[in-house]
Amino acid sequence: MLASSDTGLGPVLDNFFAAVQDVANNPGSIPERQVLIGQGQVLAERFSFLDERLSAFDREVNQRLTDSVSQINALAQNIANLNEQIVDARQTGFEPNDLLDTRDQVVLELAELVGVTTVEQDDGALNIFIGNGQSLVIGNSASQLEAFSDPNNVSRTNVGIAGVSNPTDIGRFLSGGELGAALQFRNSVVDPARAQLGLIAVGVTDTFNAQQALGLDLNGDLGGDFFQSIEPTVAGAAQNTGAGIITASIDDVSQLTGASYTISFDGTDYTITNNDTNASQTGAGPNFTVDGVAISVGTAPAAGDSFLIEPVTTAAGLFSVELSDPRLIAAASPVRSSASIANAGSGELENLSVNGTAGLPLAGTVTLTFNPDALGAGIPGFDVVGIGGGPIAFDPSTDSGGVSATLGDFSFELSGVPVDGDSFTIQNNLDGSGDNRNALALAGIQREPNLLGGTASFQDAYATIVGDVAVRGQQASSLASTESALLDQARAARNGAQGVNLDEEAANLLRYQQAYSAAAQVIAVADEVFQVLLNATSR
């Protein structure tokens, strides 16, 4: 599903950015912009579809856990009962073979549900352990497992020991059987896939919106959000007693790792734990930043309270297009530069780009004038009027090949050989509907490594999901065939030990037949001898 060209994310993401390129090719035209909004909606639908499928797997796992737990409980009780019967039977001197066989069968069924280890007691009872030493059946008493809702995350089912008021999740200790497989599937396939997909969704939203904000739409305004901003979800644990309010936002998309976090309060300090790595940090707050997520405590909670913060897990389902008016796509750059027609030298000001919108729109024109004494006697450069940051040093004899310069949030390149008095201006890009510079920047987002500490583009991150799931699938396949081969061997051994070989029995039958005939012959001979004796001694 993830890799297919019909249902995968790759082609849809590519089509979206192709539509951005088409807007860059014809920035003043409305139809291309309309198509871009349409492709954005297709992208949102695809994210939603994939997220829904993964959530469905999640729900299926929950169901499996619940079912398996009730089956395990029934089997455990059964084994406990059998243990009691077997111990009683042994005490009266009988070897209860039928009961032993039945118990073996039940243990086999249990092993199909969860990995178990068994230890036989001296009195004949079989003790069953699961996980890393958790006892399930000791003698004639069975513990019960319970499938309960994770207090921090109501949509998640965990497995624990029944009978305690706050059960702990023993899921990470259980392996093997259907239960173990379901847990492993959730932990190593569904959860990471959903987190990475969410990471891509947040990445696209954030970077695209950020670049939109640096551009100018057809109405001459700075661009607004193209996608709806995605906030991390924050949920208080079910047993929280306080009325704390905690909010979270994405500070830096490139730092996100896809993990979710738990923040807990002990009365004085807050501890933030990364739920994937268990790394934690403690502080008094009320503001924290971890892995690109900014967390802030609005109202302090009660001691002992905890909250689950999920920056990306639900993001793919929340991804949607905010913009509906094609005129609001910001294809142009907010400023443009000009060289004065009266310039006599060959100086140039090029590659003007905007890194922030403070100071936009410009209050007035910014003018740079070349002055051989701009920075003092004999030190050439450009005097700057209209914005702080000048004068800018520029020496035509060494810098004519090009130097970068910044003024406020603008950066540009100065080159060539200007003469005294040559000037350049930077001004608001009024009526610049033919400008496609911001559209080119929006299109460039596709290939930039925006995620995972600046190492992965959206396509790279998606390929990682597909690769991970594929590797898991491959591992599962090869594990299945290995286990299958082992099962065959075990069966062969068992059959070899206890199975009947008909030819062997036929041969034995012949042997016993012959022995019987031989014995019968001995009796016949004995009878004859006795008859002779009787005849000999009778008158």
Partner: protein
Amino acid sequence: MVDRISTLQIFQSGVSTILARQEELARTQQELAAGRSILSPEDDPAGAIQILDIEEDLRQVDQFQRNSNLAESQLSLEDTTLSNVVSVLQRVRELTVQANNATSGPEQRAAIAQEIDIRLDELLDLANTRDANDEFIFAGFQATSQPFTRSGDSVNYSGDDGQRFLQIAAGSQVAVRDSGSRVFLAVPAGNGSFDFSVSGNSGNVVVDSATATTGFVRDEYTINFIQALPTDPITYEVVDSGATVVASGNFQSGEAITFAGATVVLDGEPDDGDSVEIEATANQSIFETVSEIVQTLRSSTGEEANNAEVNNALASGLLNLDQAIGNVVEVQAEIGARLNRIDSQQEINSEFNLQLQTALSNVQDLDYAEAISRLNLQLVALQAAQQTFVQTQRLSLFDFIR
């Protein structure tokens, strides 16, 4: 290996062998039907990732080819328009040369002025060319407003310096438009370094040629002619804007006067007090150049002093026209270079596309020869498993006990 085989075991191992062979056969059959060796990502995780990457690259290359085609057509339009501009300017040049001829009188000059004026309007129309999307191609970023408007004898530019770029490859953008200021306004006047003018002279000195070296010192200079007494030889004095004398000497018609990196050759007979102005130039728009010629022609009266003025002005105008033509041709040369770049990028893209298709095929397509021979082998293996199973099942000692 167990040393005792039960009957059940014989049966089970026979069956599981048959099942295994059937599974392999089914897999091969699926591969043949799909024509793919990778049916799902878990068959080859590294290959699956490769396929995703290659497919993304293919889609991008496709987009780049579309972008380059669009770029080509836009640049072709600009090129054609500029060729027309050059033709018009050359016609104006012809007319100017004709008008500069000594035999042209005021009436002829007025008629020529009229035709050149019409050419000016033609240039204006060309400068306001629109493309297929109804955008003005020489307006910079303000592509929906007409960039050049004429009022009286002057033409105003309301566009800007903006240039549009299109993405033709991952790291490569090409300009598809040039601003009106680049093409029509940023034209150096005169000989590129300085221009000359003559007015208010009573003599008939004309500028024959004016050249500058790179060492030309930018300033305003005046060549003054002095003849204290009618019997004195005519001398000249060149002063700069600070009234410093930079050159002087006896005036000889047809001889070069050099100063501050400039060389001027003057013909004719100046009177005492006549002067020639030399001014370091900035830029002058093409429209201004043509318009000036029209005005010069219209100011022709036929008098000798006026003729000298007109001749000087037309000579200066011709220099300006050459600059204008040179500027437009320079832009055309840039367009030519860009078109070449687009061409070679399209070839590279096309080549890349082929490579990607090949790589994709190598990763995911089936080797039919290998698969079919594998299929045959598996068929034989399955048959053997089935036949041997049936035969060994039949054997039983009981058959031989009477």
